[in-house]
């Protein structure tokens, strides 16, 4: 499909962005937990037009064996874009970008997973970007945290992630595809709120040190919001499970 044309302005005279958002406003986020059958844990996120599915397997026996570690589980992570997820079809062979993002996403999750409980095993996180719309690595981390929790893997806390960027000279939260493409900078951030640790940080474009500081604050605030949504999504899942369990109990009583 031909790419959409470049918009004339990314922000209008009233400070409103092309999709109607304010500068500090997140795109609509939809989170679902436990939607795959075979995976040990799974989650789905929609953030703007991002549609990302995450499946988690493990802890399971390391394969091949020589990657196993004697004192902790090996965390493995694959970030992958479906061929149809972007404007121009992506070749299915793994790209250098996918390999880099797999690494930084893994590193953003390592510190929260209690890997020392499961030596000689692997915990595998598969992030499948079904549709990409700017900020997919952050949305992937947000969903991966939920999928790990859904798999019952002990974690210190959930990791939340969000990007901030610069468009037409202003710092703006959670850039969409067009804003990312025609904007001036992109700053993806992952945050572990209670430990107060930024575990993913990348940047491209041009930012002054002041802009960086302002942007970082905006991103961490957004991470806080997203962290709340994550907890809601988990609660909802367990609520449903509880209800189902109660229904069953009733049925059993009836029967």
């Amino acid at each position: 499909m031909p790419e959409p044309k470049q918009p004339e302005k990314l922000i209008d005279d009233k400070g409103v962005r092309i999709d109607g958002r304010r500068l500090d406003q997140l795109r609509p986020i939809k989170l679902e937990v436990g939607i795959l059958d075979k995976a040990d844990g799974s989650a789905y996120i929609e953030q703007g037009k991002n549609k990302i599915l995450v499946g988690v397997y493990g802890p399971r026996e390391a394969h091949p064996k020589h990657i196993a570690l004697p004192d902790r589980a090996v965390l493995r992570c694959r970030y992958r874009m479906a061929p149809f997820s972007v404007d121009e079809r992506k070749n299915p062979a793994p790209s250098r970008r996918e390999m880099e993002l797999s690494k930084v996403i893994r590193e953003s999750l390592e510190s929260v997973v209690l890997t020392d409980l499961y030596p000689r095993t692997t915990i595998d996180v598969f992030i499948e970007v079904l549709q990409s719309d700017g900020g997919s690595r952050c949305a992937g981390i947000t969903a991966a945290s939920l999928a790990l929790a859904d798999a019952g893997i002990p974690m210190r806390e959930l990791v939340a992630a969000c990007a901030v960027g610069k468009i037409q000279g202003h710092m703006a939260l959670d850039l969409s595809d067009a804003e990312d493409k025609y904007g001036e900078a992109d700053l993806p951030v992952a945050w572990v709120p209670n430990a107060n640790l930024v575990t993913l940080l990348q940047m491209d474009g041009i930012l002054t040190t002041n802009e960086f500081e302002k942007g970082l604050t905006m991103a961490l605030d957004a991470c806080k919001t997203i962290h709340g949504m994550q907890q809601e999504a988990l609660k909802k899942k367990y609520l449903v499970i509880k209800e189902v369990a109660e229904e069953r109990e009733e049925t059993e009583v009836v029967a």
Binding site: M1, P2, L36, K38, R80, P83, F84, R89, D124
Partner: protein, 272 residues
């Protein structure tokens, strides 16, 4: 090199249960031998694709995306567009799948779906030519397996047809060397609607739409793809044993009927 696969260590007892049930005219999920699992089809989920469909067949889940781009025709068919079918059986969908280049299972799946579409002349390949021998439209059919609970071929075939039938494209034209797109979306011209129907032989009984547990104990598998007029347009046998001549005849007739039922559902969903 192809080699005898290592099946997961399903308990012998469990295997026996599956086989005994089928022998007694029952199945592990309470279906009849000739019944499909519940089928759900949703089109248009992927806005960036020209067409897309997500299909659930029981707990099996497949997403197909269609992308249409300009490219070069094959030298021996200068007056036809190009069709490419690719399948990803990624590790997300099953502990049986691994990372790495496409497995022989993924290649077989893609090629069986490809044959159904190609041999039934489903996509109007002539309509995809921009400049004979030089520039044509290329239709990429990308099959993404999300959850593997058996019978991926039928789930993928259904999703591929639903995605193609709901696909839209901009009219492209050549101006000199460059491709120019005219506004307005048009449906991808389809001439046929192939549907794959897959059977498994468990013990001496043949069942349609095998669930994963049945696939793991089956003697053989047969896929029959039926085009809109009730003719066969592709077949593929799999598995370590085979079928008798009589079994094959019976299976082909059942395939015609099942394909018609599923085709109606697909086209209804694609119209949305």
């Amino acid at each position: 090199m192809s080699f005898t696969p290592q099946l997961p260590p399903v308990a012998k007892l469990e295997q026996k249960t599956v086989i005994d049930l089928v022998a007694n005219g029952k199945r592990i999920d309470d279906r009849a031998a000739d019944s499909y699992r519940p089928l759900h089809i949703q089109v248009g989920l992927i806005e960036k694709a020209n067409g897309s469909a997500q299909v659930s067949l029981g707990k099996s889940k497949v997403l197909v995306g269609i992308k249409i781009e300009t490219g070069t025709p094959f030298p021996d068919t200068p007056d036809e567009g190009v069709l490419t079918v690719n399948a990803e059986l990624g590790p997300l969908a099953s502990p049986l799948f691994e990372t790495g280049p496409p497995s022989e299972q993924a290649i077989e799946l893609a090629r069986v779906i490809d044959r159904g579409i190609r041999e039934s002349k489903a996509v109007d390949m002539k309509s995809l030519v921009l400049l004979k021998g030089k520039k044509v439209q290329v239709v990429f059919v990308d099959i993404y397996i999300l959850d593997h609970d058996g019978n991926l071929i039928d789930a993928a075939s259904i999703a591929a047809l639903a995605a193609l039938a709901s696909a839209k494209l901009l009219k492209a034209e050549l101006k000199g060397d460059e491709v120019v797109y005219k506004p307005g979306l048009h449906p991808l011209p389809l001439n046929n609607h192939p549907v794959a129907v897959t059977f498994a032989k468990v013990g001496k009984t043949i069942v349609v739409d095998p669930v994963l547990e049945e696939e793991q104990v089956m003697n053989a598998r047969l896929t029959v793809t039926i085009e809109k007029n009730g003719n066969i347009c592709a077949m593929q046998k799999g598995g370590l044993s085979g079928f008798t001549q009589d079994e094959l005849k019976a299976v082909v007739h059942l395939a015609v009927q099942k394909a018609a039922e599923n085709r109606a559902k697909i086209l209804a969903a694609a119209k949305g």
